[in-house]
Amino acid sequence: MSFRIQDEPIDPRVLEARLRDDRAGACVTFEGWVRDHNEGEAVTALEYEAHEPIAVAEGEKILAEARERFDVLAIHAEHRVGALAIGDCAVWVGVSAAHRGAAFDACRYVIDEIKARVPIWKKEHYADGDSGWVNCATRAPAHRSGPAAKVS
């Protein structure tokens, strides 16, 4: 399996070792870090939730598409779930290839598709005590979201 959902911290060194290949001249990696703001709001912490069986199936499908479209040697991707702090690595994508063009293009394709297609949701906790699911118009009533909003 090349796409993983996991609740342990992501270790880029371990993951990058999987990309090693004597034919590889280029290695491009993407890390998504939890940042301290989003659309003008100060973010204090995040939770990621996934539906793992479908997330993994969809993730593997994306990696297979990338292998078919781009001349790459190895691809691996992982996404964290659970509670994350500012600066934590939420998602990692790594690609090795003989030449850098394919490595850059495949890495970008994979992270763009993960963000658009894989069933993973992000709940942000804000400095003002509020919280919200990113990209969702649906909002829980205040009395239900209250307790979760205090998690950090």
Partner: protein, 79 residues
């Protein structure tokens, strides 16, 4: 026909539950979403959401069968 609806992330919080048994006349996943969105106040347009039946992603016009487990996914935000 009776199916099981499962809710994730914002949908779960808005519905106040993870899943429920639903007695419905909806023939497709999309029709069922319409019913449940009205009941629970889901505000996301169907086109931005996804649906899975028995752990496989499907189109909104997929037909339902008695006993199906229907998963409703609000808009994703990976990364």
């Amino acid at each position: 026909m009776e199916v099981t609806a499962r809710y994730f992330a914002a949908f779960r919080e808005q519905a106040g539950k993870e899943s429920e048994r639903v007695e419905t006349r909806a023939r497709t996943a999309g029709e069922l979403y319409g019913e449940l969105a009205a009941r629970h106040g889901f505000a996301d347009p169907r086109a931005r959401c996804k649906v899975a039946i028995n752990d496989e992603l499907r189109d909104w016009d997929a037909e339902l069968a008695d006993g199906d487990v229907v998963l409703f996914f609000p808009p994703v935000a990976g990364g």
